[in-house]
């Protein structure tokens, strides 16, 4: 009886951990895919964090002023798009892409709380969003009735159903990106411009235009990632709300070797680590003591460094990554 009880509790715990993993992975997936488009086209993007944060704020601010989730979504995407295109302008001008990305991160980190306190006078936050201005959980068809069915029903009801729109968009974006990269002309050109812009140029295609297009997609995805944080998982803008997720997405992009499905796996792993550490906060394991949650939090960064060191597997970035085209002196 006791054993059955623990087993039941265990499966409940696992289900809820899986559900939070799916939820927490969504902004990471969106941001990492955004990075994927930029970097496969040869543009280094360490500005994911800043673009996300801009969208976090713009989405929440507009949604709270208008009371409309759709307008908030549009504003979030627009804000991230503007920063992405600024990055594009710098890139095409031949600026160092790392410098430009870093600059955008700082601008977003400073501008968002400044604008928030200027407009809302609430010490750098937006007011909590009213119900209609958020993306609430969507209950998929049959989720109610299937909830009683063991395993399949539980998984469907707890893990698959009940997420918000941006989460489902994140999950759709992965197969879509994989398809676009592998099976469309745009995907082929995108990969080509990241590997060999000279060849693309020689073929009569515009390197600048391709990279701009990639960055536009990048901006839209970053916008979705940010909106997901402030309008679906959170409730309004808080200072530094992206909290390093842009860098984490960058780590997932490297861990996933710049390919959509492995990137998804990396995001799920990092999100699972996050879900587990949130659950273990303050838990004392018998014979082990308090769980060092910081260790679990640090795990994604350690993994990335190990991957970059080439100790486990190799991560080969796109060949032209970070190199301006035409080359600068």
């Amino acid at each position: 009886m006791d054993g059955a009880g623990t087993a039941g509790e265990m499966s409940l715990l696992l289900l809820s951990l899986a559900a939070s993993t799916v939820r927490l992975a969504a902004p990471l997936v969106l941001a990492a895919l955004a990075g994927l488009y930029a970097e496969r086209s040869g543009v280094v993007d360490i500005g994911l964090e800043g673009k996300m944060l801009a969208a976090v704020f713009a989405g929440a601010a507009v949604a709270s002023l208008t009371g409309s989730a759709a307008l908030g979504l549009g504003a979030g995407i627009a804000a991230a798009l503007v920063l992405a295109l600024l990055h594009g302008v710098a890139t095409i001008a031949g600026a160092d892409q790392i410098v430009s990305g870093m600059a955008l991160n700082l601008i977003a980190a400073g501008a968002t709380p400044s604008l928030a306190s200027a407009w809302f006078r609430q010490r750098g936050t937006t007011p909590p969003l009213p119900a209609g201005a958020r993306f609430g959980p969507i209950t998929l068809p049959l989720a109610q009735s299937l909830g009683e069915v063991p395993i399949v029903g539980w998984v469907y009801t707890t893990i698959i159903s009940g997420h918000s729109l941006p989460v489902y968009l994140a999950w759709l974006a992965v197969p879509l990106t994989a398809f676009v990269l592998s099976y469309t002309g745009f995907g082929l050109r995108l990969r080509a411009v990241g590997e060999s812009p000279e060849a693309v140029d020689a073929a009569g295609l515009s390197v600048a235009r391709l990279r701009f297009t990639a960055l536009a997609v990048n901006g839209v995805l970053c916008g979705l990632a940010g909106v997901c944080l402030s309008m679906a998982q959170g409730n309004g803008f808080l200072r530094d709300m992206s909290a390093g997720r842009g860098y984490l997405a960058l780590a997932a992009l490297i861990f996933g070797k710049w390919r959509p499905w492995p990137v998804l796996a990396a995001c799920l792993l990092f999100a699972a680590a996050d879900a587990v550490q949130a659950r273990l906060q303050g838990v004392v394991l018998p014979g082990f003591g308090a769980v060092p949650v910081q260790l679990i939090q640090a795990l994604p960064y350690v993994i990335t460094v190990v991957i970059l060191a080439g100790l486990v597997g190799t991560a080969r970035p796109p060949r032209a990554l970070g190199k301006p085209y035409p080359p600068v002196r």
Partner: protein, 369 residues
Amino acid sequence: MTRRLYRVLATLLVPAASVATALAAVAGLVLITGEAPSRALCTLLRGALGDPEGIGYTLFYATDYVFAGLAVALPFQAGLFNIGGEGQAALGGLGATLVVLALGSLPAPIVLVVAIIGAVGFGAAWAFVPAVLLARRGSHLVITTIMFNFLAAALMTWLLVEVLIAPGQSALETRTFPPRLWLPTLADITAGTRFDAGEAPLNPMAFLALLAAAFYWVLLHRTPLGYEIRAAGLSPLAAQAAGIRVPRIIMLAVCGGGAVAGLIAVNELFGSQHRLTADITAGAGFTGIAVALLGRNHPVGIVFAAVLFGTLNQGGAALSFDMPGITRDVVTVAEGVVIFVCGMLDGVARGHIGRFLRTLWMAPARQAR
């Protein structure tokens, strides 16, 4: 002659343009809050430079930024981008604090000297792993140093929660250092005089910052090692061919950057905060990028840029105090804009647009010959 003029123009125009754009961006933010930008500028300047206390604070922050700027500039001379100043400074703070906790009973000068060595050593050690990974395995320094910033934050939080926290405290900080270890500040020296500097934490580390900037110049331009660093930065392949051991140069330049970053923590710990917290650097490591870019990696430029950002930081504090709705975050915006415009103009100058402009510029000179 024309070439020289072109270079002088570039050195002056790029910083001027980026500072002007940054000020315009800040003015825009001020306008949004409904205040007059001119009044904001007055408040900012008065707060930063209007009285001895303001000047003391400005130069105290500038001290941080000189170290942070050098921590970016030294690896930059070797062609490398060190974004890890934040983490390296945090670890420097850990090193200095451990020295104080271990040797706190020894005479103050000894403790201070060993603490500085500890800060420099820990900062360099935190840069060592990214440096060695780059030198031996070719791992991208930017990404590894970003990761090491996060690792440093996790490590510091864990240490403060589990090990170093002052007994009976709930805030994440160590116990306060004994006052005899505090560096004398401008406030101490001027207390009771006509130039009373209030609380200003400006301390002798400012001289060390100037010394470090001078040392940086001598190292780069008057020593064989500096020559090798610059050669490796200009062309690693040519340097390699000339017999320079490039991996060794990478190690020295990056660890050197980490070492200087450690000094930020010394200035903060012994000048102002007197105890280790999870966030002793307050973003100075990132300001260092702006300082190095704006200062064109030249020591004099770095000192000027550091004073400029010190002014902005201290003035920003005054601004947020005087004008509700404006926060110190406008300084971060200014940093970002400076970095963006500098990077952009550098790219323009070195890239295809610059090539076009140069041909226009040089054409009359060539014809004259």
